[in-house]
Amino acid sequence: MKYVDEFRDGALAKNIAANIAREADPHRRYHLMEFCGGHTHAISRYGIADLLPANVRMIHGPGCPVCVLPAGRVENAIQLAQTPELILCCYGDLLRVPAAGGMSLLKAKARGADVRMVYSSADAVKIAQENPQRQVVFFAIGFETTTPPTAVAIKQAQALGLKNFSVFCNHVLTPSAISHILQSPEIRQLGVLALDGFIGPAHVSTVIGSRPYEYFAEEFQKPVVIAGFEPLDVMQAILMLVRQLNQGRAEVENEFSRAVTRDGNVKAQLLVAEVFELRRVFEWRGLGPVPYSALRIKAPFADYDAELRFEIAPLSIPDNRACECGAILRGVKRPQDCKLFGTVCTPDNPVGSCMVSSEGACAAHYSYGRFRGDDDLVAT
């Protein structure tokens, strides 16, 4: 496959692996967090851990949109889906996320709710056009990558004069989540979590550019290397982080220069700014309430805001007490540290959200990496 295979070349991977092994200082450890679920998935799927020396450890971050969606918002959507004659459209990964009492959109669907999986927000608009007598709600989630398409859908619905289309907005922001992690007591005071550098988001950065990360590099003295989602991208980014750390630098570097610029996609940013505004605070699964970390629909587009149209009330549903998704999303624990992992919580019957999406740390480890015994991955 052109333009893809080049970035999955095993021989090149061995080269980079040799460079990492040569350059990594055996007297220190490198704790690198990949923020994005896309990177988590690539690391597990291609077995990247096998190519790294023992003192270079990858820590999975919270950048999985399905994983960080709190159960309360999923419950909101499930209740909404049970409204007679309403069609709820959502991305596929969301269907299996458990909410209160093990209920999920998939189970609600089996009980008669009209829940439809779509590949794009435009499909939801099309469904609204095709069903003028029924309310159609698009359950919008995701980081900056999926936000512009939601803005387009809202503007499209407005242009078409659709009265039966609305969006349940749950879009969240990457930079706020990174700050939140870096400011957490686990890193700043307790030292529970050693974190030396970040692999920065791929697709998110194509939209927001590399500039927003400059603050973290400067303020927290942590190097950031923006990387694509292909395995060679990840390997190269790890090498670049090792070099920065060895040289005592903390800069933003861009490995994904084939797609990411410093300013990002300005047109998309303007579109998002036109349709959305910051929420004062938003609850993240695992991170709790994070200030200014999510978007809501602006007043001029209020007609398309499902939260207003259906008077959706905030719900707070605590996670299962034994579930470690929170600590795993903050990078403090690993999937196999959770008592539920692989016992009552599996991809077929997920208890926590990290076990749902293939980008979730638990699902990725379960599906691709669980042949590695616990001894292989000693916490450091």
């Binding site: 496959m1 893809v4 999955r8 070349d9 095993g10 991977a13 061995k14 692996a17 896309g38 998935h41 597990s44 799927r45 291609y46 077995g47 990247i48 851990a49 096998d50 190519l51 949109p65 399905v66 991305y91 596929g92 990964d93 269907l95 299996r96 998939l106 439809r116 999986m117 779509v118 590949y119 499909d123 989630i141 995701g142 980081f143 990558t145 999926t146 697709h203 395995p231 991809p347 077929d348 999406s357 293939s358 980008e359 379960y366 599906s367 691709y368 990496g369 669980r370 042949f371």
Partner: protein, 349 residues
């Protein structure tokens, strides 16, 4: 001269007619549908007996029997339709024991309102598939359900066959050291079907690989009589099939990603849909496991057959108390190839 008029039945209108409830009621309309469509298309000496059961000579030896229900949507897809699929599916399940399939039955659940023309196309496709395979459909059944209670047509087929003496192919016979082979390109059927699914229409030249595999199996058994395991990786793809065998045989497996035959177009479709070809359905492929010293001979026999031209040795059975199927990635790492979870859902970003 008798004044009693001859019976006259207006022939079924295959151009504009539709299935209605009378076609399943047991009355004249049903008899007509059976005569003009099913018996006409499937015609064979057993069906012509017109009894509630087919009577046929029983061969000597061990018989196998398998049944399979077909609910594919859409009913017509590039490279096939539910008709030939329902014949191939069951023939292949019978053949995976090394058996020679002998007879088939077919049960139809039709939805009221289904166009008779489409039904005719489907039945003729079944008849063609059964003739090509040399395995007659000897008995059948038809039911009609009210509109909204079905999805056009569902077909259940059952097949019986006989296993040659000395052949013992079974899912629990994989042993550490055995080689794992596949008969050709993986994932064609699933991608062909997905290209037509609602909300997902994309253009592809990929055709379903639906095919009857008993000829290939016969050639394989002739070359290597002691094949340990045969299975066709349908729903859930090769990954799921190998996990089933690993559990049954209490072994592990190690696949080589760079040896897996997958078409570029299938790879590309899977790439943008967020799917893994290892989990995508096949309808005309098989996985075989045999002793290492037999592997090359088996591979050559497969490659010499028209349905095995792209056959490859893709991995090895290993000892593993956890019964994991693992894979050496082309990238140089290692990972689990797990059971399919739920339906394969696309990743969102």
């Amino acid at each position: 001269m008798s004044t009693v008029k001859h019976n006259y039945t207006r022939p079924l209108d295959f151009k504009h007619g539709r299935v209605d409830m009378t076609h399943g009621s047991g009355g004249r309309a049903m008899a007509q549908l059976i005569d003009e469509l099913f018996v006409a298309a499937f015609d064979n000496e057993f069906l012509r007996q017109m009894n509630d059961q087919a009577r046929f000579p029983a061969p000597q030896g061990r018989m196998v029997m398998s049944t399979d229900s077909h609910v594919v949507s859409p009913l017509f897809f590039p490279g096939g339709d539910i008709g030939c699929l329902s014949v191939h599916g069951t023939l292949n399940d019978v053949a995976m024991s090394g058996a020679r399939p002998l007879y088939l039955s077919a049960g139809f659940i039709l939805e009221e309102g289904f166009p008779l023309g489409d039904l005719k196309r489907i039945v003729e496709s079944m008849a063609r598939a059964s003739r090509d395979a040399g395995v007659p459909i000897v008995t059948g059944d038809t039911k009609v359900v009210e509109q909204g209670k079905g999805d056009g047509v569902f077909i259940t087929t059952t097949g019986v066959g006989v296993v040659p003496d000395g052949v013992n192919i079974s899912g629990e016979r994989a042993r550490p050291g055995d080689k794992i082979l596949v008969s050709g390109m993986l994932g064609d059927h699933g991608v062909a079907i997905m290209s037509l699914r609602e909300n997902l229409t994309f253009h592809t030249s990929i055709q379903s690989d639906t095919a009857a595999l008993h000829g290939l199996v016969a050639a394989m058994v002739a070359a290597v009589s002691d094949i340990h395991v045969l299975r066709d990786p349908t729903r859930g793809g090769l990954a799921t099939t190998l996990n089933e065998i690993a559990r049954q045989s209490a072994v592990g497996m190690m696949l080589q990603e760079d040896q897996l035959p997958v078409r570029e177009q299938v790879k590309a479709a899977c790439e943008f849909l967020g799917l893994d070809p290892l989990y995508v359905a096949n309808e005309g492929k098989l996985a075989a496991i045999c002793a290492p010293q037999d592997a090359e001979r088996l591979l050559q026999a497969m490659r010499a057959h028209p349905l095995g031209g792209d056959a490859a040795i893709v991995g090895e059975v290993i000892e593993d108390p956890h019964h994991f199927v693992q894979m050496e990635t082309a990238f140089g790492g290692r990972r689990v190839v797990d059971w399919l979870t739920g339906e394969q859902l696309p990743r969102i970003c």
